[in-house]
């Protein structure tokens, strides 16, 4: 992919790709600020969300009016490792959109009134999320796995702790972490390089950087000799939601690619994975079952999620454990390995098949230090994985002794 990288005087980077097939433009910015940097839960989330609630020259109402009138969108995504904003606009309204976007990014005022309203909204929405069995299961799982580490809570925070947050917390967080020194921008779309300099580089470059670093602590994982079983009773549910998992790996882990292939074969490969075959295709016990892993800056989780009719709960848990053991005890077949590699390599373009996806992918690639040649190199990384590698990483990661299993349902 023929994108360019510019590094500005204040340290900010811009990844740029010209595309003129449709008159639209995406601008993303990755801000290395997340729950990892919080003193109080939810501050990273609230800071990002309050950006559009008032600037030095615009009220919240004016901002909302402009967004809707020019049909602009500003997505805010807060992950456990970073915050990302993505602006989408038609070329016709590019100037208005950029003007607004840089205003909210550089001049937010975080009005007290707006913080109060937002706290109520977040509290209500968290309470509602806590009615969702998948959310309950996941919340309990990560809490056990990560304990007090920020990876162990939802980025939105916890409803009980919201009342302690003050405007000053938000202002301080913004001042320290919304800093061009480490921001990674990307611009994809119908915009010439000359315009890029005038319309985008200039406003970013005028922004003064302040030296800072993130103080990151890795999670401490408990060594468990036996499974930890958690049951959360919900009389009203017709299905049990099961999450079974353990410690995974970080994005920088040298085993990342072997784990990717192993996970695809175990439960990451949709209807064709071993878990889907056993639980869904051959027994009709669930509509969906999958395994996944969260490769953060520091080790994240590896888990399986499934929903099944109450009476099948234990049976499905046994089937999952059986499949996990099989993965540890014997090598995968040649066909499985070949198919998994063919899929992972062949489907890579699907991960960047729209301008929006490219715009969000380029900064992430840079953030995790994957290199500007990552897209070209990816097939090679996957092709290198052997059957022995898969068995080795299965034995390293898949924890059949000390796993955590959470069940949300009527009974066990």
């Amino acid at each position: 992919m023929d994108f360019k990288t510019f590094t500005l005087k204040n340290g900010a980077k811009i990844k740029y790709l010209y595309r003129d097939s449709i008159p639209i433009v995406y601008l993303s910015v990755l801000i290395p600020a997340s729950p990892l940097d919080e003193i109080k839960p939810s501050v990273a989330y609230l800071t990002a969300h309050l950006l559009t609630h008032g600037t030095k020259t615009r009220t919240v109402t004016e901002i909302e009016d402009e967004i809707d009138f020019f049909a602009i969108s500003i997505d805010k995504k807060i992950t456990h490792d970073y915050t990302m904003l993505t602006l989408a606009t038609t070329k016709r309204h590019l100037k208005e959109a950029l003007n607004l976007f840089f205003d909210i990014l550089l001049n937010p005022t975080f009005p007290e009134e707006e913080l109060k309203k937002e706290l109520i909204r977040v509290e209500k929405s968290l309470r509602q999320m806590e009615e969702d069995p998948s959310y309950i299961a996941y919340k309990n799982f990560i809490k056990q796995l990560f304990d007090k580490h920020p990876y162990g809570r939802a980025v939105e925070g916890e409803p009980e702790e919201l009342k302690n947050i003050t405007r000053q917390d938000i202002v301080d967080f913004y001042k320290k972490f919304y800093n061009p020194q480490r921001m990674i921008f990307s611009v994809v779309g119908s915009l010439e390089e000359k315009e890029l300099k005038e319309l985008i580089e200039n406003p970013i470059e005028q922004w003064q950087a302040v030296q800072y670093s993130r103080n990151l602590n890795p999670p401490l994982f408990k060594k468990r000799q036996q499974p930890l079983k958690i049951f959360i009773k919900r009389e009203d549910l017709t299905q049990s939601t099961i999450i079974l998992g353990f410690e995974g790996i970080s994005r920088q882990d040298p085993d990342f690619y072997a784990v990717s292939v192993m996970n695809y074969i175990l439960g990451g490969g949709g209807l064709t994975s071993r878990l889907a075959r056993q639980v869904r295709e051959e027994r009709g016990l669930a509509y969906s079952i999958y395994s996944t892993f969260l490769p953060y800056l520091m080790p994240g989780a590896f888990y399986v999620e499934v929903k099944t009719k109450n009476e099948n709960t234990q049976y499905v848990i046994n089937l999952i454990i059986e499949e996990i053991k099989k993965m540890k005890n014997s090598e995968v077949s040649d066909e499985e390995l070949k198919d998994a590699k063919a899929f992972l390599v062949g489907s890579f373009p699907l991960r960047i098949d729209t301008m929006k996806k490219i715009s969000e992918f380029l900064p992430v690639m840079d953030f995790y230090g994957l290199g500007d040649d990552y897209i070209a190199k990816y097939p090679e990384y996957i092709e290198k994985v052997t059957k022995q590698d898969i068995k080795r990483v299965a034995q390293r990661i898949l924890n059949t002794d000390g796993y955590i299993v959470v069940v949300v349902g009527k009974d066990l």
């Binding site: 097939s21 449709i22 008159p23 639209i24 109402t61 909302e64 009016d65 967004i67 809707d68 009138f69 020019f70 049909a71 989408a88 606009t89 038609t90 016709r92 309204h93 309203k117 109520i120 209500k124 929405s125 309470r127 509602q128 009615e131 069995p133 919900r234 009203d236 549910l237 017709t238 299905q239 490969g269 949709g270 209807l271 064709t272 869904r280 295709e281 051959e282 027994r283 009709g284 016990l285 669930a286 509509y287 969906s288 929903k307 099944t308 009719k309 070949k338 198919d339 063919a342 899929f343 390599v345 062949g346 489907s347 890579f348 373009p349 699907l350 098949d353 729209t354 301008m355 929006k356």
Partner: protein, 430 residues
């Protein structure tokens, strides 16, 4: 004056937003092929659309379209067993399908160089689906699990299902796409076979291929596999809905933190011009944080956590205009409903502002452009119009949108937003 200038620019701009390049071709057996040349990504999409959905289902067999969709992944004559997804994935592609009230779509996303695989697999399952009875029983169980997951244990989906069921007394849109559990259980393998033979054939389908493709080369490859499949003429029922005499209401008590108010007005579908004015009305009332309902209920009065509207003009028959509000607490439900009705009455009496009409048009333009950012989305957008007769209706749709006036919006509010068209659902915490 400024508004006028914007309108002129808009009229000038829309015509140049033509599609990259779209061509159509009809095979001898009636199968229409639509090709979209789109070189913006390394991925192509192959989509087979069958013009059959829950609207066509026989009484007592709700969910049969969706169940058949599941069976389409359980093997065909030349590809027995559930190997369909496995073959596609081993080519680096992904595949899936979805059923709606009006149509059923099977699709793959894969490299343009692998399109032959889609052609081979899709033609075989259009002509030669195997109906293995063990697989059929398994798929029924899977669909029942799907229903539990998506409806039984999800009160927000359930209240919407209840409202739709209440709004229509006779019209088949009252049935849930996934089907009612007892109906799903009662469907037999013979029912499924009959349904497949009645609706799954070239004359009731069309294919869309989008991506960096060569039209003539692809046309020959598709012709070779699809043209020999015999066609059919599916029976089409005439739909009707008896007159409604007053507002209808359903109250559902389930475990939830936030109550939900769902209001649904029966409205016409495109190409009826009113459906387009209703689209504009939808933006004014409930799309975005600057919309009237959001401003009043969420921003100013703080009675709701969220509110939005949804219209589906591209339906085969008139469907529903939804207003959905998440209410802060159960004691605010009546206030919220009252305020929504007041806002509707206001539109009936006072013309909406020109700026609001302009905003709606800007949003339509943007969603039209952004739908082309993905090859897959681009194809879907075109397919939805083809279901209504021809994808070329897009031109009419764009023209009609541009012509909508404040008066039109007021007129449709008066014509459709009345008690005799309204069904209300309220979800309350148990």
């Amino acid at each position: 004056m400024k508004v006028l200038v914007i309108s002129l620019i808009f009229v000038l701009i829309f015509p140049v937003m033509g599609f990259s390049e779209v061509k159509e071709e009809v095979l001898k057996n009636g199968l229409k092929l639509i090709f979209i040349r789109d070189t913006s990504s390394a991925v192509a999409t192959f989509q087979v659309w069958y013009k059959v959905g829950s609207i066509d289902e026989p009484e007592g067999k709700s969910g049969i379209s969706h169940l058949l969709e599941h069976m389409m992944f359980r093997g065909s004559k030349n590809y027995p067993g559930n190997v369909f997804s496995k073959i596609i994935q081993a080519q680096g592609g992904i595949d899936n399908a979805f059923t709606t009230k009006d149509y059923t779509v099977y699709f793959q996303k894969l490299s343009p160089s692998k399109l032959q695989v889609s052609i081979d697999l899709e033609s075989d399952r259009m002509a030669n689906l195997l109906f293995n009875s063990d697989d059929f029983e398994l798929e029924k169980k899977i669909v029942l699990e799907e229903r539990r997951q998506r409806y039984e244990d999800d009160p927000e989906s359930l209240i919407i299902e209840e409202v739709i069921g209440l709004a229509f007394k006779a019209h088949p849109y009252r049935k849930p796409i996934i089907g009612w559990s007892d109906d799903i259980i009662s469907i037999t393998l013979d029912d499924l076979k009959r349904y497949y033979h009645e609706y799954y054939c070239p004359g009731n389908a069309f294919i869309i291929v989008a991506g960096d493709i060569n039209f003539s080369d692809l046309k020959e490859k598709i012709r070779e596999k699809f043209e020999k499949i015999p066609s059919c003429t599916p029976s089409r029922k005439t739909f009707y809905e008896p007159e409604q005499y007053g507002e209808k209401r359903v109250i559902l008590k389930k475990q939830t933190h936030l109550p939900l108010v769902v209001m649904a007005y029966k409205v016409p579908a495109f190409p009826n011009k009113d459906s387009i004015s209703i689209e504009v009305l939808s933006t004014i009332l409930g799309e975005g944080k600057s919309s009237r309902l959001y401003r009043t209920l969420v921003t100013e009065k703080a009675l709701a956590v969220d509110v939005s509207t949804a219209n589906s003009p591209l339906s085969r028959d008139g469907f529903l205009f939804f207003i959905i509000a998440s209410v802060k607490s159960p004691d605010k439900v009546d206030d919220v409903e009252k305020i929504i009705k007041e806002e509707i009455e206001r539109i009936k009496k006072e013309l909406p502002h020109e700026k609001e009409i302009e905003k709606a048009k800007n949003q339509v333009e943007a969603s039209f452009l952004f739908s082309q950012d993905s090859v897959f989305g681009h194809a879907l957008y075109i397919g939805k119009f083809e279901v209504l007769g021809t994808w070329k209706l897009i031109e009419k749709y764009k023209e009609d949108i541009m012509k909508v006036t404040a008066k039109d919006v007021q007129d449709v509010a008066n014509r459709y937003f009345k008690a005799e068209n309204l069904s209300v659902g309220v979800l309350l915490p148990k």
